[in-house]
């Protein structure tokens, strides 16, 4: 991925730029250490990169530093990690001798050597540096636009319930948001939900974890929360937990939640799913605050269905037939005798011929299912972030 640049071309580009000091910003995407861009130009380009992030979920950075003498790969990686707001994205690093495109996180699956060359070619132009950077950003926007992870607009706070499918009407969405807000505030742990139309080829657990992180759903300094993400097209769902929610929603607890919600998920009753999920999450958080979160051997007891009342009565009536039948049979003692066992002369039975012929033998084999279950919460890392969670299909 690291390429030797055509030095004269680069020099000509740089010569055409005005040398301006680089000013620092909060979200810095354009790292112009050489000062080719004016402050205003840099601000505009940072803004453009910010929009790309919001639209696609990918950070697109540019590093210009002709003073670099060390490994450009290491330099690119460290600058990306220092400045990129998201774990997924790219940085095009250019020093005096070469260029390198470092893809981070999910971007790695889309940016190979050929794509790196195209990104570099997009940067190369006959215009001034501003136009070149714009060309690079435009190309990156197109590239990642095809593989975007939805992120809520930065102007509004990340809503706890997001619907990208339009299946929930506004009143349902509002009601869910209010409920989730109330539960989250009460327990200091975010309870969030997301309904998306497609995963765009991304693994559902990774998608949920990244959605959680990208949308900053975590509550407080521990970044705690649980997200239920459902994707309509793939019919997959995932729980993503972080911070204190990892302990509150154990693996067994999440399996219990899945059992309660799966039927409505399959039927597409999404409002019912998220509403029930919020109530259950509240119940789980209350339990977790006692110090004994719901886990294997300690799962919530649902109220016994009302059907058990008539069922018990029916079984009672059927069961009562036995003892009362026995009482009734005491009154009857006159029966015909069907056999003559008492009249068989002792030792008179003589089986003279006894033959047993084997006709065939059949052997069948069956694999024994081994179900393993564990207590506690299993965790994994996504883009360097620790999450708990489970996923499945419906």
């Amino acid at each position: 991925m690291m390429k030797k640049v055509l030095l004269p071309a680069v020099i000509s580009l740089m010569m055409s730029a005005l040398a301006v000091p680089v000013s620092a910003q909060t979200d810095e995407f354009i790292l112009d250490y050489d000062g080719y861009l004016t402050a205003a130009q840099k601000a505009e380009l940072d803004q453009e990169a910010q929009e790309i992030l919001q639209e696609t979920g990918y950070s697109v950075l540019l590093l210009l530093d002709e003073t670099n003498t060390g490994s450009l790969i290491d330099y690119a990686m460290s600058e990306y990690n220092a400045h990129a707001p998201s774990a997924d994205g790219i940085i095009l690093a250019v020093d005096a001798d070469e260029y390198y495109v470092y893809p981070a996180g999910n971007a790695a699956q889309y940016v190979d050597d050929a794509e790196s060359d195209r990104l570099w070619n997009a940067f190369l132009c006959d215009e001034d540096i501003y136009e070149c950077v714009e060309g690079y950003l435009d190309y990156a926007e197109d590239l990642f636009g095809q593989h975007k992870i939805p992120v809520t607009p930065s102007e509004t706070s990340a809503e706890r319930m997001t619907d990208f499918t339009g299946k929930l009407d506004s009143s349902q969405l509002t009601a869910l948001i209010q409920k989730m807000d109330a539960v989250s505030t009460e327990h200091g742990i975010t309870v969030a939900g997301a309904l998306t139309d497609t995963l765009d080829g991304i693994d559902v657990q990774t998608y949920a974890d990244r959605f959680f992180d990208l949308n900053d759903l975590g509550y407080g300094p521990t970044d705690s929360g649980i997200l239920l993400l459902i994707s309509e097209a793939e019919r997959e769902f995932a729980f993503s937990t972080k911070g204190k929610a990892i302990g509150a929603f154990t693996t067994a607890g999440q399996e219990y939640l899945i059992k309660q919600l799966k039927s409505d998920m399959s039927k597409g009753n999404y409002y019912k799913v998220f509403d029930a999920y919020t109530d259950l999450a509240d119940q789980f958080l209350v339990q977790a605050e006692t110090g004994k979160p719901y886990d294997k051997g300690n799962l919530p007891k649902k109220a016994l269905s009302l059907i058990w009342i008539p069922l018990s009565l029916l079984l009672g009536a059927l069961g009562a037939l036995l003892p009362t039948g026995a009482m009734k049979s005491q009154l009857k003692s006159v029966y015909t005798k069907e056999k003559a066992d008492s009249y068989v002369v002792k030792d008179s039975v003589n089986i003279g011929v006894s033959r047993n012929r084997l006709i065939d033998t059949v052997i069948t084999r069956r694999k024994i299912d081994r179900k393993s279950s564990s207590e506690g919460s299993e965790t994994h890392t996504t883009d360097g972030q620790t999450h708990g969670g489970t996923h499945g299909k419906f």
Binding site: K302, L321, Y343, V349
Partner: protein, 357 residues
């Protein structure tokens, strides 16, 4: 010519009755006792001939021809009273003077039974068994026990055909065996299919089928078994004091019942020889019994009672004491117990469901 025998005490002339306790003919007046064999040694027994005018028909005009055809009339020589019975009655009591009489023609020649099992239990034992029969029955109406009195207790010698059979039988079966074991992470099942063949013989003795149309068959079967080893060679003396009938159903009609019973028993016995196999299906059977019949009299106490305008009949095996008879049911008691048990079981089911939920 029809003759009846009256068993009169040689000592005092009183009517002798066969005693189940003493197994002898006893006089209730002078307490004299005679074995049947002693009494049979002439001239102890009084055999009285009937007038030739007897033709079994009463000329009083109270009966129609079809009824009269089934009746027989005897004159009691003790009191002159008329003893009217049906034609199959072999022993009776004079309704006027209680004199026991035996109708010899009903128990002689071709109609003579081979054996008789004498009564071993008396009327008091029958009454006691009846009282015991009523005990511990939660659904028996209390009024039945309190108001009840036995209207009639009668000791009857019931005629039976008993069948002996030498049976030759063959059976074929389809059957399987199944073994299961674990190999690593697999459950392995081995199923073997077999064709089984059995042939053998067995003997049945004394399968009883009651030969009286008057006695309910199911009731007579319910008081089985009778122990033929206690039977005596028939002598009319055993009948004195008891009622008796000669057979009214012949062997042709009763042999089928015996055959049904012995075939079922034979089938079970042979099936037992393949009990190590599972899924046994009988594919062929042949049961050939060689059956002989014998004619015997067995002792039975019959008790009748009327309650709520319905007659309830009970029977006791006069040899073993086995007592049978269906009793009425107290419907309100049944409903009460049903509700109690039903409520209890329903509550238990609901609690268990809650616990396991």
């Amino acid at each position: 010519m029809t003759t009846i025998s009256e068993y009169k005490c040689p000592n005092c002339g009183g009517p002798l009755e066969f005693s189940s306790e003493k197994q002898k003919l006893c006089c209730p007046f002078c307490d004299s006792e005679y074995t049947v064999e002693e009494f049979n040694a002439a001239p102890l027994q009084t055999t009285v001939s009937e007038d030739d005018s007897w033709n079994g028909v009463i000329e009083a005009g109270q009966w129609d021809d079809s009824e009269l055809a089934g009746l027989a009339e005897y004159i009691c020589r003790s009191c002159g009273g008329t003893i009217l019975t049906d034609k199959t009655t072999a022993s009776a009591t004079c309704p006027y003077c209680d004199n026991p009489v035996v109708m010899n023609d009903q128990v002689s020649d071709a109609l003579k039974p081979e054996y008789v099992i004498p009564f071993k239990l008396n009327k008091d034992a029958a009454r006691a068994e009846f009282e015991k029969h009523l005990l511990g029955k939660k659904l028996l109406p209390k009024a039945f026990t309190e108001d009840n009195h036995i209207d009639e207790i009668k000791g009857i010698y019931v005629p039976y055909w008993i069948f002996d059979a030498d049976v030759d039988a063959k059976f074929s079966y389809d059957a399987k065996t199944e073994n299961t074991w674990k190999e690593n992470d697999e459950e392995v099942t081995e199923t073997k299919t077999f064709k089984l063949f059995r042939r053998g013989t067995l003997r049945f003795e004394a399968i009883p089928v009651d030969a009286s149309v008057k006695m309910p068959d199911d009731m007579m079967e319910s008081i089985e078994p009778f122990d033929l080893s206690e039977a005596a060679a028939f002598n009319p003396g055993y009948l004195a004091g008891y009622s008796a009938d000669r057979y009214s159903i012949g062997t042709d009609e009763t042999i089928e019942r015996a055959r049904e019973r012995l075939e079922r028993s034979t089938r079970d016995i042979f099936l037992d020889t393949v009990s190590d196999y599972t899924d046994v299906q009988e594919t062929f059977s042949q049961i050939i019994p060689d059956i002989q019949a014998r004619y015997v009299l067995y002792p039975v106490w019959i008790l009748n009672t009327v309650w709520n305008d319905k007659t309830y009949t009970f029977a006791m095996n006069g040899q073993t004491g086995k007592f049978v008879g269906d009793l009425p049911i107290d419907q309100s008691a049944y409903r009460k117990w049903f509700a109690l048990y039903g409520a209890g079981i329903a509550a238990a089911v609901y609690l268990l469901a809650n616990l396991l939920h």
